[in-house]
């Protein structure tokens, strides 16, 4: 066991994956000697050298497109897009190719690659450095999307992503890279893609969240317990696509009420999908409308005001109270 933050545990997972499987390579802008703008690739260049840790030219489509080629060639590229706000540059490569080669070739070729990118607000960054648009990937058939929420699951999920035979988007909530530490077991772990986690059991309502927003949700759970005596069940999605609908639906069948919390824009966001699935599968159990506490349908504001955009515990608590008193 070792106590570490999430930046470190992601780094550890990369290190371990590269050690155990020589097909794994890491590529992206500044991932080499600079060790990544968030230092997520710390030590990798030094240890594995320039044949396995590639500083690329500044071109996102180039990064993802060549990674697709390498994956089909038999490697396992883990490519980094420096900030998720720039991964639109390479979206066509993911949509047209990474997500489709297996289907297109009836299983003959496949694209076992991972695209990592720091996403989300909360670090006083510039425009285009705080986006949270995971729903676009969740809406893209053929991709899987995972989002960790802490050091231990970050490492395990990254291992699962790298070992997955299909392309996985691994979005890193950068606001919590160094926010807290956790015990991470010595032994390498994985975490099945497609399984969500009940962080805290409860009976009065279900709060569903993921990534950095989970912190606000956790805080809200405590506030609700302290101030209202309410026992909320908290689900950490961990995988955004494919959704663990069973877990969500079972919880809501128990509680009858739900609030979903994420920082991406509301319209057609993950929250909408969760509502739609619950509506389909647990309609008769719902005692109140499911509320969405999300980023607004605007670009996330420049950093002097980003905290008003990001869901915080107070907004979550308020939504829960409305749901509970419906």
């Amino acid at each position: 066991m070792a106590l570490m933050n999430m930046a470190k545990s992601i780094n550890l997972a990369l290190f371990e994956a590269m050690e155990r499987d020589e097909r794994v390579i890491v590529m992206g802008e500044d991932v080499g000697p600079d060790e990544g703008v968030f230092r997520i690739t710390e030590g990798l260049f030094h240890k594995f050298g320039e044949k396995r840790v590639l500083d690329t030219p500044l071109a996102e489509s180039g990064i993802v497109g060549t990674a697709i080629g390498m994956a089909m060639y038999g490697m396992k590229p883990v490519c980094e897009i420096q900030f998720s706000g720039f991964d639109y540059y390479s979206f066509h490569q993911l949509e047209c190719h990474a997500s489709r080669f297996r289907n297109r070739t009836r299983g003959r070729l496949s694209v076992p690659m991972v695209m990592r990118a720091p996403y989300g607000g909360g670090i006083r960054a510039l425009e285009h450095h705080s986006e949270s648009r995971e729903a676009i990937y969740a809406h893209t058939p053929g991709l899987k999307v995972v989002i960790p929420s802490g050091p231990r699951n970050a490492r395990a999920l990254l291992h699962s992503a790298i070992q997955d035979p299909d392309p996985v988007i691994y979005y890193e909530p950068k606001a919590i890279y160094r926010l807290f530490k956790e015990e991470v077991p010595e032994k390498m772990e994985t975490l099945p893609i497609g399984q969500s986690n009940i962080v805290k059991e409860g009976k009065d309502l279900t709060i569903i969240s993921y990534g950095a927003s989970l912190r606000a949700a956790l805080e809200a759970v405590e506030l609700l317990e302290e101030e209202d005596g309410v026992k909320a069940e908290l689900i950490d999605l961990l995988t955004i696509a494919p959704l663990d609908a069973t877990l969500i639906v079972e919880s809501i069948k128990k509680t009858g009420r739900a609030v979903i919390v994420h920082e991406g824009p509301r319209t057609c966001g993950l929250g909408a999908e969760v509502v739609a699935r619950v509506n389909e599968a647990a309609f008769l159990y719902l005692e109140a409308p499911i509320r969405r506490v999300t980023g607004f349908d605007t670009p996330i504001p420049y950093f002097s005001k980003e905290r008003f955009y990001l869901p915080d515990a107070e907004r979550v608590v308020a939504a829960c109270r409305e749901t509970l008193s419906f």
């Binding site: 066991m1 070792a2 570490m4 470190k8 550890l12 290190f15 371990e16 390579i25 080499g32 000697p33 060790e35 710390e42 030590g43 260049f45 030094h46 240890k47 044949k51 396995r52 590639l54 690329t56 030219p57 071109a59 489509s61 180039g62 993802v64 497109g65 060549t66 990674a67 697709i68 080629g69 390498m70 994956a71 089909m72 060639y73 490697m75 590229p77 066509h92 490569q93 047209c96 190719h97 297996r102 289907n103 297109r104 070739t105 009836r106 299983g107 003959r108 070729l109 496949s110 058939p141 053929g142 899987k144 035979p165 299909d166 010595e186 390498m188 497609g194 494919p242 959704l243 609908a245």
Partner: protein, 403 residues
């Protein structure tokens, strides 16, 4: 602390290679640049430039011709089928056979072939069946499945995007220390896409063994070269990436052969990528849905049709005594029979249980089908079963919506 984290944390500062010296002498002075050449060997009247003529073994010459011809005849037959409603819209490959065969003939089986969509000759040569082409252009994913043991990517529809895959495969060879060559194809229109730029730059930076074959047929659907670019040749783009570039007569299979041979040899020797521009012409419509009369004159088209590659190569082979007229007639008959057999096979296959099962749309998306996809599969399955049951009662078929 565990074992896992006991690795060195600090990288050595990278000693930057400054390839760029600062020139301190002040006068304006020209920067030295590589040369870009034009090459043609076999002209449109089948006159050959003896000095440049490559020595090609008879077997190889026959192979080249065979697949050029097979592609041409298949293409022609497909056009008829399309007109009869037996195939979907497709882009003809006729006229592009020299670029395809003159280049991919240099590939070993273990090398990679990354086509765009006018490389039918190359696909057939590489081991794709005529059947897969027919299936592909008739709306069956099965036609995009590369044959076992063949290192090809299938036809690529999103323009220029395949060039990055080729670059990536080449990078992979280098990174893993494996010898190999990647031959990839794109059009003059494709040259304008950002992905083309990124692919050539990546290949150059990593010195990937990639040959970028540009089929400059002077049109992107209706858009002529003059509206596609201001530069006089595509070959000169090589200068932008510090790689060798050459323009050849793309209707001259010998010129393509020589340029591609040099490029492949460089790639195998670890000397990185090459850009080859084959100047040709699309004497057919863009696809069977296109009407070229809207945007170009018949004179222009006729002029270029005369320069097409197959006929001049045939004359060359006859002149050289590689074939007799009689042998060529026999070859035509042999290929015709091959094509007809393939058509019969695929038209039967298309209605077979296996290929007509719509549920296959769910079956290959992921290695393991996620639960929600399985639910959707069940949803469609039960819908189809209900339809079937109903159709048993009434003759009206279910899919009769307006579209």
């Amino acid at each position: 602390m565990t074992n896992y984290v006991k690795y060195p944390l600090k990288a050595k500062p990278n000693s930057v290679q400054q390839s760029l010296k600062v020139v301190t002498a002040m006068p304006r002075k020209p920067i030295e640049l590589p040369q870009i050449e034009y090459m043609s060997i076999l002209d449109e009247d089948a006159v050959v430039d003896k000095a440049l003529e490559p020595k090609i073994a008879e077997e190889e010459l026959k192979n080249i011709y065979r697949y050029m011809l097979l592609a041409r005849r298949t293409d022609e037959r497909m056009l008829m089928m399309q007109r009869q409603g037996r195939l979907g819209t497709f882009p003809q490959s006729s006229g592009h056979e020299a670029i395809s065969m003159g280049s991919c003939i240099h590939l070993k089986k273990s090398d990679w072939h990354v086509p765009a969509y006018r490389e039918l000759a190359g696909l057939l040569y590489r081991g794709w069946s005529i059947d897969s082409t027919l299936l592909y252009w008739n709306g069956f994913e099965e036609g995009a499945r590369p044959p076992e043991g063949v290192n090809d990517l299938p036809v690529c529809v999103p323009i220029a995007s395949q060039l990055l895959h080729a670059a990536g495969i080449g990078m992979g060879m280098n990174l893993r220390g494996e010898k190999g060559v990647v031959m990839t194809y794109f059009g003059d229109g494709a040259s304008s896409e950002g992905d083309t730029h990124e692919a050539m730059n990546f290949a150059a930076v990593y010195q990937a063994p990639v040959v970028f074959m540009c089929l400059n047929n002077q049109y992107a659907i209706s858009v002529p070269l003059s509206k596609q670019m201001r530069n006089a040749t595509l070959a000169q783009r090589a200068i932008a990436y510090g790689m060798p570039g050459i323009r050849v007569d793309g209707n001259d299979v010998l010129a393509v052969y020589v340029a591609a041979k040099e490029a492949v040899e460089r790639a195998r020797a670890g000397e990185g990528p090459t850009l080859i521009e084959g100047l040709t012409y699309r004497f057919t419509p863009h696809t069977t849905a296109d009407d070229p009369k809207r945007y170009r004159s018949e004179e222009e088209c006729n002029l270029w049709t005369k320069r097409e590659p197959l006929n001049r190569f045939k004359k060359y082979l006859l002149n050289k005594g590689v074939y007799t007229e009689a042998q060529l007639t026999a070859l035509e008959e042999e290929l015709d029979a091959e094509i007809k057999a393939a058509i019969a096979r695929t038209e039967a296959a298309a209605v077979s249980e296996e290929l007509s099962n719509p549920l296959a749309m769910f079956d290959y998306l992921y290695a393991d089908m996620p639960p929600y996809l399985n639910e959707q599969r069940e949803e469609l399955k039960s819908h189809l079963e209900k339809q079937k049951a109903k159709a048993g009662k009434s003759p009206q078929h279910a899919s009769g919506t307006a579209r």
